[in-house]
């Protein structure tokens, strides 16, 4: 229990620092991107298990393209970002080809994507830079940070909200875009229809195959965005352990949020607290390893709570239907 006491004590110290909240927003963003990417696919009931692999590979691609174009001095990072998105979309398409046209289990395809993504990126990095660990030698640069006028001058709040990378802001804007896309557009409606009852969609002439493919392509593209975020915003280089499970955490956040962007955002911020917390290890007596493990432990606990909650909800719903049926019978 002394561990928990120590965590609470450190949290109390850290929670007053604006830099902690800044860090929170910064570190929740890539998980948020990953989770939103998973959400589109999940809504079409096509689990994108390969998010981690897509992020890893596109993170490297962004760095390579950027450095080839001269890094921060030119448009390098921007082009890197665009190429990363395109490659992500392509990988999403590949998953759909293997899963729906060649009929391989989509979870297995995802796992293969993760293994290939991590393996191929380290191989490629070694081949092109001669370095097995990082691409620091490439000077690939980062995307610009933005100081928000007015808000940046507000004490505390300015320090928290201003001066983030442009992609960080976009991650949170994407929550609204995604909500709009899924719940207000025709394509979003079809994605949700296919995800919930494929037969219903097919019976009115909607090709579930096409809809699922589109969903996975979008999912992969957002995965590319998340990958570029990690190597062009979070850090300024690619390293072999860069993604470190963020794709999987995104997947977890997506299912905890029932693939609804708003709830997903809250889950990601909750996870972000612990990611940010682990950056303030120096302020505590805790082992750095324990702190690094903390976000994952929290994800696990979160998933358990979520599963208990949904089971209760489902039971309640069934009971509701039950009593309705009985009352009708009596009438």
């Amino acid at each position: 229990m002394s561990l928990i006491n120590e965590i609470i004590r450190t949290l109390q110290n850290v929670l007053v620092l604006p830099s902690f909240y800044f860090m929170l927003i910064q570190s929740a963003a890539p998980i948020l991107l990953a989770a939103l990417g998973c959400a589109v696919a999940a809504k079409a009931s096509a689990t994108n298990m390969g998010m981690e692999g897509i992020m890893t590979f596109t993170a490297l691609i962004a760095v390579l393209v950027s450095s080839a174009l001269g890094g921060s001095k030119g448009n390098g990072p921007w082009v890197g970002l665009v190429v990363a998105i395109a490659v992500g979309a392509l990988l999403g398409f590949l998953i759909s080809v293997f899963a729906f046209r060649l009929k391989i289990d989509i979870i297995l395809v995802g796992i293969a994507m993760n293994l290939i993504g991590t393996g191929a990126s380290v191989f490629l990095m070694y081949l092109l830079t001669g370095d097995r660990a990082t691409t620091t030698s490439l000077q690939s640069g980062t995307l610009p940070q933005i100081a928000i006028p007015f808000i940046k001058d507000i004490p505390f709040l300015g320090e928290v909200l201003s001066n983030h990378y442009i992609l960080t802001y976009f991650s949170y804007i994407l929550v609204f875009i995604m909500s709009f896309f899924l719940f207000k557009t025709k394509l979003g409606l079809r994605i949700r229809a296919v995800g919930e009852n494929e037969n219903a969609a097919e019976s009115v002439g909607i090709s579930s195959l096409n809809i699922k493919t589109i969903a996975l392509v979008i999912s992969g593209a957002i995965g590319g965005l998340a990958g570029a975020y990690m190597s062009e915003c979070y850090l300024a280089y690619f390293s072999s352990g860069l993604i470190a499970g963020r794709g999987f955490v995104g997947l977890a956040a997506c299912s905890m949020g029932s693939a609804n962007p708003g709830v997903i955002c809250l889950c990601c911020l909750a996870f972000g607290i612990f990611y940010a917390f682990s950056n303030f290890a120096t302020l505590s007596n805790l082992s750095i390893y324990a702190l690094n493990a903390l976000p994952y432990a929290v994800v696990l606990i979160g998933l358990v709570i979520y599963s208990v909650y949904t089971r209760k909800k489902e039971l309640k719903r069934l009971q509701g239907l039950d009593s309705e049926e009985h009352s009708e019978n009596k009438a």
Partner: protein, 516 residues
């Protein structure tokens, strides 16, 4: 009146060689409600699937408004003005009524789904045909009856002129059924042609204008509803071709093995499927259970075999209440079960014949030596059973999935019959298997009976039920509608009457099913 829809000499042969429709003829005029009646497996659903473009006929023509139509998909059928209300609703539960109705033909403003327009059009359609549905309600919050209306509106909004309803009342309460009929009649008066598939003859009689009867994939005839009685239709539908002629001595029933008392079973949605029934099965007799599918037989067998739980009434197997028993306990207690779906519940298709045959005995000492399985004993026994049960295969190592349906069933039968037991539940034991294998299974069952086994036989094959059972229970609407102590005195015509609920027995007679 001009024929609006004609299906001419339509033949459909499935890949496994089953002839589902053999030169079936069907026609309907504008503005009529036309019933299609037939037993399970008579080919009604196949015929309708072809009309709705889900299946394509091998031979024959579908003519709508004088035009020869090729319907390759439901989309084609919808374009041709055909709508279908499936037994399982094609709806997305979390979406609203309007979204479901407009799915596939979504109104848009630029990229955005135009919800207001969707609601307006849904409302318009509902008002036109007299349905009271809130377009903004979510499907998952609606009762089954309303969901079905949504399904009808879905078809109407796409301009459907021929509406197919596949056993629409199976899921409805009597009140909902009444309401549906009023609406269907109204729909007919607006010029819509309705095809009503059902085996509830009282409903057919009440609702429809004409009836086409199909038996074993062939059209028996078309009648104006006012020219036929329920008994007539039943006689046309039900028919036993051959006496199976199974050599069988009269049963010598002894004491009760299974006693079911006042059993009531609700399904997951809380609908009453088995309604206060009592009966018993004695040592040395075969009790048949007959009934049109969906009248509670499935649920009854599920609770007796431990696949589902019950809360009202009691089931006593060999002196012990089975309520809280796991399936393994039940089997230990002397229950064996040939399940209806052999591929799903009966065997593991990716495992060998040998493994499947010992699957229910593998925990016994004789098949284990220390930590390991006694492979020698397993091989000896299964090889012997393969011979004894005439399983046609290369060896016991062959995968069950490679065998024909009849041989798969023999593997299941071998496993169940070679375990010591007191009660055998035999659910559709010969469905879809060849004549030779079927005869073998039936003969084995009679042998088991003579050795003192209590047997319950559920079968949609009336010839089988009538010639194999010693006594017979007929189920209708979740209740026992008839009990025949001696099947020999029962005519197939009478059986049809009881199955379809045309005739009912008195409570006193039904009580005979329970032997005290």
């Amino acid at each position: 009146m001009e024929n609006y829809l004609v299906m001419q000499d339509v033949t459909k042969i499935y890949n496994n060689g089953i002839i589902a429709n053999d030169k079936v003829n069907f026609s309907a005029v504008k503005g009529e409600i036309h019933a299609i009646c037939g037993e399970n497996g008579a080919g009604k659903t196949t015929l309708m699937k072809m009309l709705f473009g889900i299946e394509q006929p091998d031979e024959g023509k579908i003519i709508i408004k004088g035009k020869d139509m090729k319907l390759n998909s439901p989309t084609d059928a919808i374009k041709a003005g055909i709508g279908m209300v499936h037994q399982h609703f094609m709806q997305v539960p979390s979406l609203t009524v309007a979204e479901n109705v407009m799915l596939g033909i979504e109104p848009t403003k630029g990229l955005v789904f135009d919800m207001n327009e969707a609601v307006r059009r849904t409302k318009e359609c509902c008002e036109k045909y007299g349905f009271e549905i809130n377009p903004k309600a979510e499907i998952q919050d609606l009762s089954v009856g309303v969901k079905q209306k949504v399904e009808i509106v879905k078809a109407l909004v796409k301009g459907c002129e021929i509406l197919i309803l596949d056993e629409p009342t199976a899921v409805l309460t009597p009140q909902e059924t009444k309401e549906l009929f009023v609406q269907l009649k109204h729909l007919r008066d607006t010029g819509c042609t309705i095809i009503f598939i059902s085996h509830k003859l009282n409903e057919v009689k009440e609702l429809c204008d004409r009836v086409t009867v199909i038996k074993k994939g062939k059209t028996i005839g078309v009648w104006n509803i006012k020219d036929v009685t329920e008994a007539d239709i039943s006689r046309y539908m039900v028919g036993v071709d051959v006496d199976l002629n199974i050599p069988k001595a009269p049963a010598q029933p002894k004491e009760n093995v299974l006693t079911v008392k006042n059993l009531t079973v609700y399904n997951e949605a809380g609908k009453k499927k088995v309604d206060d029934i009592s009966f018993s099965v004695r040592r040395g007799e075969i009790v048949g259970i007959a009934g049109v599918e969906g009248n509670g037989q499935r649920e009854l067998i599920d609770v007796i075999t431990g696949l589902a739980k019950y809360s009202h009434g009691s089931i006593v197997l060999d002196g012990k209440e089975v309520k809280d028993m796991e399936i393994a306990d039940l089997r230990e207690h002397g229950m064996v079960h040939i399940p209806e779906d052999r591929n799903l519940y009966g065997c593991a298709r990716t495992m060998s014949i040998k493994d499947n045959m010992v699957a229910d005995k593998i925990h016994k000492d004789e098949y284990n030596s220390g930590l390991f399985l006694n492979e020698k004993k397993i091989k000896e026994d299964t090889d012997r059973w393969v011979d004894e049960y005439l399983v046609l295969c290369d060896s016991g190592e062959q995968l069950v999935g490679m065998l024909s349906g009849g041989n798969v069933q023999k593997v299941v039968v071998a496993r169940e019959f070679t375990s010591p037991s007191k009660l055998l539940i035999s659910d559709q034991p010969t469905r879809g298997i060849d004549v030779g294998a079927a005869e073998f299974v039936r003969k084995k069952m009679v042998e088991m009976r003579d050795a003192g086994e209590a047997i319950i036989l559920v079968s949609a094959d009336l010839a089988e039920v009538m010639s194999l059972s010693d006594s017979l229970i007929v189920m209708h609407g979740g209740k026992i509608n008839g009990y025949f102590k001696d099947v020999k005195s029962l005519t197939e015509e009478d059986l049809g009457f009881y199955m379809l609920g045309v005739k009912h027995m008195s409570e006193e007679e039904i009580k005979g099913a329970l032997h005290e």
